[in-house]
Symmetry: C2
Subunit: 464 residues, 2 copies
């Protein structure tokens, strides 16, 4: 089957593909907020119908949370045809703070920018736009040739932005159905604008949350200011103690257990991967990298662990002032893990750090419902990786790179441990896509060339 | 005019007085929230009508904010009759967090507690219940004798809980009308349950608020965790740096300029004033005083300055987790001032402390609409103070004390500077009244004996 007419079909069909994506983006499928349960369900229905329109017998599969969408095509292809599983997620992040959006998050728009046209709206990049690059590539193959070059299992979840509570049970219950040769995932970025990238490693994740209680009730700061222990001061002291300001390192004992230095050879490869440090930092207002001293921004992002405060609150936050010593102060943290760091050990080290530093009369309580996942390294020695790298290089007219990644995609670990399935991560997002932020967007170039990239990768994987 | 029948009238009229207070408490006169503007106005109307029912020609006086209530009685009394100005405020604090109230804040109730009956509801203590002790004392005098023993100017404001923006202009515009021999204020606590107290000094107040900005937009902690400066970490570092953990002192340079040590003689007097440190600390869950080392809880509260964080927030505070490095972190602070500390100098010292410690790429902005007031010491050598102390001792059957106070009542400073008027602060609140907090209450004993106390004080002031 020839690739050329498939690429031509993708080019002529681009406007229609954009329209389909815009329709998908109009569904506010915020998975973390129960108020949007029906909309998440609608997004699953839309995806099922769209896959069916290509000739893929897709289904919505119930879970105790939001549904999965699955489908399989190419079961009639000859023995020996490669079998890939494509994973994506159709749910999106919440949109707050809404007042920072320049256009309504669920009324997607095509806009001109200095870097070309973009599709603006929640989910445009993460992950509706990205997952549709693969679906549109399949549509073009099916339209031109009546079939696909590979056997493909589609697997979409609606809980990626809310901790994926149904994922592991579903994988375990349907392991036989989901087995394939290789998983393809489109939920990552390019290392720099225009540099096609295959992610070779992911950081792991640990989430935790704690509350410090000082007095049993909120107090008047006139009556108790001085003698009274203030949990906001206590929390600040503890958060500050997480870090060594001299070295930029995390000061929790045992934090770096299992962290390995990046080999010189890999460092040199990264240095030449096209990462634009000045744009990466300057684009969001930084003049330098603020992490561990002695490591480049790239290493800090891809190969070093973090302890990050994601939320911190207590006391009065309305207009004017309130002379209160609050009873409670709250803190949400996440860590990014690398190498062999163990989430459970890390959690107990962090909790011990906090508990050891509490003043008399301060108490701490922990949220015990938050999960963790180890870091993960891809098996880039598999032949499919070189085939994909070559296909990407052809499409983007520059050498594709194996790059690290700062983010965490726990599903990749579950594919390995539950399905014994390696993953290949190819994504077309840019650092300025503002995912998880107001004014999220996806470059039209990413969308268009992303579709073409997947068409080429499917072709390359099917070749001997 | 005899005091005895006045006290008897107060006793027999107590239930009716409680009913009047409950009606007053049902008006949600939250001054800081514009949504309650009409209710604040209603509270002023209620107060005018109540004063008129005693025969006091009271009026509601417009300002650019909430109205003042004024009235004068006794202008026909002989020359040489003492003339007092009574001050109180009819506005109340907001009620959040509402879910911590056991009963609706504006549906006041009489409840039994281990310390006797209490009136539960927002404003029961601060300041509706306290101001009504004086009004009810006047009602009893007028009912029994047809007149009052002193000439009295009533002066009530409705903006005390929202920074009193109209107070200074009103005092300046009506200085002649408001002149008197001495101001009486009922907005303070007893040093300990059952110990009648005249406040001899007040701490001053400085309010400030700042926002630290890191990245220009909220960032994904996978993409920027490591290299990215997090304003929540920055804020924690700066708040922690406000304090010297070894000494418990505030570590801002120049913070203690103008602070004087309390003379030994006064310390000894305070030690014997009946302050119950164990109840004060233990009642809210503290086992020790957490302020400056080497100072008692009483000194820390009354005679030492503080820098207190009243609110701190940034990032995500909803359910679950959000992997965000927020763009901004916010902090509200207030200081309590003593001695000759100058609010303006202190403000610039604190701002310099913050600005000197900011990391590269972190910016700070300040709220410039927040005020400050110096500490204030009462003129306890005036003969009225001894007369009042004696009257209070008679009523409470134990020696009344001159006590310090941790709170701030800026009006006392304005009375002095604008009207050249000394103030005497007598209040009947208890430390466990939960003012500014959920479940505010006022002891029925405070209300009843408070009314009787004012009846006695008016009698004492009018005697030669």
């Amino acid at each position: 089957m020839s690739l050329t007419p498939v690429l031509e079909k993708i080019d002529t069909d681009l406007d229609a593909a954009m329209e389909r994506l815009m329709t998908f983006l109009r569904i506010p499928s915020i998975s973390t907020d129960p108020a949007y349960k029906a909309e998440v369900d609608s997004a699953a229905d839309w995806l099922v119908a769209d896959l069916q329109s290509i000739g893929i017998p897709a289904e919505k599969r119930p879970t105790t949370g939001h549904p999965m969408v699955t489908g399989q095509i190419g079961t009639d292809l000859p023995d020996g045809t490669p079998h890939v599983l494509f994973y994506g997620h159709y749910d999106v992040q919440p949109v707050d703070p809404l007042d920072l959006w320049d256009t309504p998050p669920f009324e997607p728009q095509i806009q001109d920018t200095p870097n070309g046209k973009v599709i603006r709206g929640r989910g445009a990049s993460d992950d509706k736009g990205q997952l549709m690059t693969f679906v549109e590539a399949c549509r073009a193959w099916a339209a031109v040739h009546g079939s696909l070059p590979c056997r493909i299992t589609f697997f979409f979840e609606g809980e990626e932005e809310s901790g994926s509570p149904s994922l592991v049970p579903f994988l375990k219950d349907h392991a036989d159905e989901l087995k394939a040769d290789l998983a393809l995932v489109c939920d990552t970025s390019m290392v720099s604008r225009g540099v096609p990238s295959i992610s070779s490693q992911l950081r792991g994740m640990l989430k935790d949350e704690f509350t410090i209680t000082g007095p049993t009730i909120d107090l008047h700061s006139g009556h108790y200011g001085g003698p009274g222990l203030n949990p906001l001061r206590e929390l600040s002291k503890i958060v500050a103690s997480f870090y060594d300001e001299e070295t930029g390192k995390v000061a929790v004992e045992g934090f770096y257990d299992g962290v390995h230095e990046v080999p010189e050879s890999q460092l040199r490869q990264w240095e030449n991967c096209g990462f634009d440090e000045a744009e990466y930092l300057g684009g969001v207002g930084y003049t330098k990298a603020h992490g561990e001293k002695g490591y480049s921004a790239l290493e800090q992002q891809w190969a070093r662990p973090t302890l990050e405060v994601n939320g911190l609150w207590g006391g009065y936050n309305g207009a004017g002032s309130k002379t209160v010593i609050p009873s409670k102060a709250h803190c949400k943290i996440t860590c990014r893990l690398v190498g062999d760091m163990d989430p459970a050990t890390l959690r107990s080290n962090i909790r011990k750090h906090v508990e050891d530093r509490l003043s008399v009369d301060a108490k701490v309580t922990w949220d015990n419902d938050l999960d963790g996942a180890r870091a993960f390294t891809m098996n880039v020695e598999r032949p499919e990786f070189e085939k994909a790298r070559s296909a990407l290089s052809d499409e983007w007219e520059r050498e594709a790179v194996f790059a690290g990644m700062g983010g965490s995609i726990p599903v990749v670990g579950y594919f390995k441990t539950i399905l014994d399935l390696d993953s290949m991560l190819v994504g077309f997002a840019n650092e300025d896509d503002a995912i998880h932020s107001p004014n999220e967007k996806y470059d039209v170039k990413s969308f268009h060339k992303g579709i073409r990239s997947w068409a080429r990768i499917l072709d390359a994987l099917s070749s001997k």
